[in-house]
């Protein structure tokens, strides 16, 4: 019998051989579910066999995982994510093992069908989709779905059954249901294997970062559809309800992204109580739209728009375009809704303001303004009507060109980092092309250095909005020290100048311990258990962390795990991930920030800029917008970090003892066989 909270089995589909296999979820329980279990499975099924070089996300032997966690579908706020993993075509210059996730109802429906996840390997010889109806799994012909937008594809799959969803009870293996299949699919951007293609579920739930839509496309996989009529067992239902009332009583959220005045907000499955209501039902021109990366995709800086005020409807139509074509809104956007002043630093390359997120659209227009690209240059921008910028006509062609790889869209579809390289302008990584790390553009990751270090040590922008500082500094630091169970206030000294930066500040062993905690937390509680970044971790002001996580999990699973037990599971998955990175070529010498991090202005995109500083024996909250790294400091940090993790400080490779202590001796043996094990 499966552990409560889990379906008990993971679906493995080989699209080359058409073989369908069921794996026992509990065999991978030590990795925590979600991304952790995906990491272990990738190691087992793709790395260890050694049949390819782990270098091409579009290779048939790459795998793509859609995984749930213990909290998925249980009605807990902030717990509806489906984890997505695989080698990422967006990652640059190496296509690292990477991750993304999306909300909606997919994770709940997958578990109601009795599955904890879907793993796909191989490549179909013609377009297909995977259809899961409770226990029954089929690989269906998708020739007629290929070429459809994400919305049309879903509607067509729904039509095929002939069921009046919501009106006719349909009998499945496990019982009757009124519900329609939850579908995750790709649009033209994925079919054409761009590196900026998202997975889209429903109207606007999407996994954008990582470019996993292109991985679907490379496998000739148009969609995965699932409908379930079973149940998710809960070990202690009353305790679960009690926990919800304790941690999320009140409900309604702050009316966030999708829930603005006048709109009817909506949200992911189970996430109503206390959530942000990230979606909406009534927004013109978009369906079920998430209001973050999607709805801000076509917002233009004042500098680039030359003062042209775009009607709001154009922005909203833009949301439709990226949702239907399946384009990663974050990577291809023009800025996002915010700009920050830079004029006080006349040497800074972006004047007079810097957009909060300077991604593909913004960079492209900057190149056009500088006459690097455009009609008559080496890089013709056709079919983009550059003279029509920033009109709706331009926006629509921008989306189409990317999704269909038309003309200049061939380069745009490679993503910002590869566009920079193709233009021969990698020096821009020191200035205006603010690639935070590994092919992902800057995103508030500075001066919150745990975010930036996370980007460096992982394989993408870790998109970690969970740490913010407010109120009395002494109390805030005290709360964080207690809330992490680390009980070390010096973890939170963000001093970045002078000797103190090395002793207790951003280059110290204390910061290394804090970053390690953060990554272990992230690997387990967020990407493996399934808690959403908007709700977890939640440390300050007597927040939910560290009691909510184990309270929820133990009520669901019947286990008796402590908060630190979870961190240890996260550390285990993090080490397997590190082993995959090492097998892909990761080494200490590669883990260096792009140039702009080491220059004044590194934190100019920052949103959470007020951070605690230990001034003598007093804590103060100071504005750290001028914070930037030194190369020596980052080197020291890395040495501390590798030591904290039990990795070789000279290479960054995991040591045998570290892996064996985590119960993954087989990983140590394999690394040793490849001469990739850290020195003892």
């Amino acid at each position: 019998m499966a552990t409560p909270g889990f379906g008990g089995k993971i679906l493995l589909v080989d699209l080359t051989s058409k073989e369908i296999t069921r794996l026992d979820t509990d065999q991978y329980a030590m990795y925590g579910g979600g991304h952790g279990t995906s990491t272990a499975l990738f190691w087992e099924y793709s790395v260890v066999p050694g049949k390819w070089n782990l270098d091409d996300a579009f290779h048939p032997l790459n795998m793509v995982f859609l995984m749930t966690g213990a909290v998925s579908g249980t009605g807990i706020p902030y717990a509806a994510r489906t984890s997505v993993s695989g080698l990422s075509p967006q990652c640059y210059p190496i296509q690292w093992w990477c991750h993304s996730n999306f909300g909606g109802t997919f994770s709940a429906m997958l578990k109601l069908a009795g599955w904890d996840g879907v793993a796909v390997i191989g490549r179909a010889d013609a377009p297909v989709y995977i259809n899961i109806v409770d226990d029954k799994v089929t690989i269906e012909d998708a020739n007629d779905l290929w070429g459809m937008t994400t919305w049309k594809c879903q509607e067509e799959i729904w039509k095929r059954t002939g069921v009046r969803y919501g009106m006719d009870w349909q009998l499945l293996d496990g019982g009757y249901t009124l519900q329609r299949p939850a579908i995750v699919t790709i649009g033209a951007a994925g079919e054409n294997m761009t590196r900026v293609a998202s997975l889209v579920h429903g109207g606007g739930s999407g996994a954008g970062q990582g470019g996993f839509g292109g991985v679907f496309g490379s496998k000739n996989l148009k969609a995965v559809a699932v409908v379930g009529s079973g149940s998710i067992k809960i070990a202690d239902p009353k305790a679960l309800v009690d926990a919800k009332e304790k941690y999320h009583r009140g409900g309604g959220g702050f009316g966030g992204f999708g829930g603005g005045g006048g709109d009817v907000s909506s949200c992911c499955a189970g996430c109503g109580m206390g959530s942000r209501m990230c979606h909406n039902r009534t927004r013109a021109f978009s369906k079920d739209s998430d209001d973050c990366a999607e709805s801000t995709w076509y917002t233009i800086t004042q500098e680039q728009s030359k003062g042209v005020q775009l009607p709001r409807d154009i922005n909203r139509k833009g949301t439709d375009i990226i949702q239907q074509f399946g384009i990663n809104g974050m990577e291809t956007c023009f800025m996002g809704p915010m700009e920050f002043d830079t004029a006080h630093n006349t040497e800074f390359a972006i004047q007079p303001k810097i957009p909060a997120y300077s991604a593909l659209g913004w960079y492209m227009m900057k190149m056009h303004e500088m006459k690097v690209i455009g009609p008559g240059t080496k890089f013709d921008t056709a079919p983009l009507p550059m003279d029509k910028f920033p009109s709706q006509e331009f926006m629509e062609m921008y989306g189409r060109a990317i999704a269909n790889r038309e003309g200049f869209g061939k380069l745009l579809g490679e993503g910002t980092a590869r566009l920079v390289e193709a233009l021969g302008r990698t020096e821009d990584f020191n200035t205006i092309a603010r690639q935070t790390m590994w092919g992902f553009m800057d995103h508030w990751s500075m001066p919150n250095v745990e975010w930036a270090y996370g980007n460096l040590l992982d394989s993408r922008d870790i998109n970690s909005h969970d740490i913010s500082w407010r109120g009395d500094a002494e109390q805030a630091v005290k709360n964080y020290a207690a809330g992490t169970l680390g009980n070390e206030p010096l973890w939170f000294d963000y001093t970045w100048k002078g000797d103190q930066a090395y002793k207790t500040g951003i280059y110290s062993k204390y910061k290394a311990e804090w970053v390690a905690w953060h990554m272990h937390y992230w690997n387990y509680y967020k990407e493996s258990v399934g808690f959403c970044d908007w709700g977890y971790c939640n440390i300050g002001n007597n927040g939910r962390t560290p009691t909510a996580e184990p309270t929820y999990l133990n009520a669901i699973t019947g286990r008796n795990h402590s908060f630190n037990d979870g961190l240890e599971i996260g550390r285990r998955a993090w080490n397997v991930k590190r082993a995959i990175f090492v097998m892909q070529g990761r080494h200490k010498k590669m883990e260096n920030f792009t140039g702009y991090h080491y220059m004044p202005g590194a934190s100019y995109c920052g949103f959470y800029v007020n951070l605690p500083i230990l001034n003598g024996d007093k804590w103060e909250i100071q504005n750290c917008r001028e914070l930037y790294f030194t190369r020596e400091g980052v080197d020291q940090f890395k040495t501390h970090f590798y030591n904290v993790e039990g990795w070789d400080p000279n290479s960054g490779y995991p040591k045998r003892k570290t892996l064996e202590d985590l119960g993954i001796k087989q990983v140590a043996d394999f690394l040793q066989s490849k001469n990739k094990l850290g020195a003892a």
């Binding site: 919501g166 809960i234 309800v241 829930g259 907000s265 909506s266 959530s275 009534t282 439709d320």
Partner: protein, 235 residues
């Protein structure tokens, strides 16, 4: 003994205001189920009804999850006595439809149950309930439910029918349920779009009400007027 209000099926369909007002007075002192009264053509009204506002629903499935959790101790969309269906690509407001048991004035599930399992519980405010001990799994109540989709639910594991009892029998609920207690779906709803009322709603449209929850404060990017219509932008 309190007045025992009776009600004909015709009254329900027509929606007599007088009858509705009278329904609020219904309280029975008897502790035994009220037998099917097809011979009389009338039944005591339920004391309480569940109404909803689908136009302001967040589509979170919280009501369904809470229902199956409270009654069955597990999450199941299929066992939930309240059903919310999200047609996520439909135009607002047809993107969400909700179905609740109407606690019918003339409950055909009660009327045609061959063993009296489906009954009107006098001790529980005349709620139409199914006694699991008596249910023989014949599904007559499901076939006879006049609503589409039917509001009586088939539990394939127990091989018995169930239906909304306003949380009277909720072994996994952490509150006292029933007509004088709390309902798991109402408690779980983050948008306050479910409500218990003691007035019989009109059969047509009466259960769908405007509960007009206060609009949340606009978050970033969240402001904007509600469109009068929602033009499609198909590619």
């Amino acid at each position: 003994m309190a007045e025992k209000k009776k009600f004909s099926r015709r009254d329900f369909v027509v929606g007599s205001g007088t009858a509705i007002a009278g329904g609020t007075l219904t309280v029975l002192a008897t502790t035994t189920p009220v037998a099917a009264a097809e011979d009389q053509g009338s039944y005591p009204l339920s004391n309480k009804y569940l109404v909803y506002d689908s136009k302001n629903c967040a589509g979170c499935y919280g009501c369904m999850i809470a229902c199956s959790m409270a009654h069955d101790g597990e999450v199941s969309f299929s066992l939930s006595r309240i059903q919310m269906h999200r047609a996520v690509l439909n135009e607002y407001p047809s993107d969400i439809i909700m179905h609740v048991c109407k606690q019918c004035p003339e409950p055909l599930c009660v009327k045609y149950c061959p063993v009296g399992a489906c009954h009107i519980s006098a001790e529980n405010g005349n709620i139409r309930m199914i006694d699991a001990e008596k249910c023989i799994g014949c599904q007559t109540c499901i076939k006879m439910c006049p609503q589409t989709p039917h509001r009586t639910i088939w539990n394939p594991n127990a091989k018995k029918s169930t239906k909304c009892d306003l949380c009277t029998n909720t072994p996994y609920f952490n509150k006292t349920g029933g007509v004088d207690g709390a309902q798991a779906c109402v408690e779980a709803c983050p948008k306050n779009v479910l409500k218990i009322v003691d007035t019989l709603p009109l059969e047509t449209g009466g259960y769908e009400v405007d509960l007009a929850p206060p609009a949340p404060k606009g978050g970033f990017g969240g402001r904007g007027a509600k469109p009068k219509s929602k033009p499609k932008q198909e590619l």
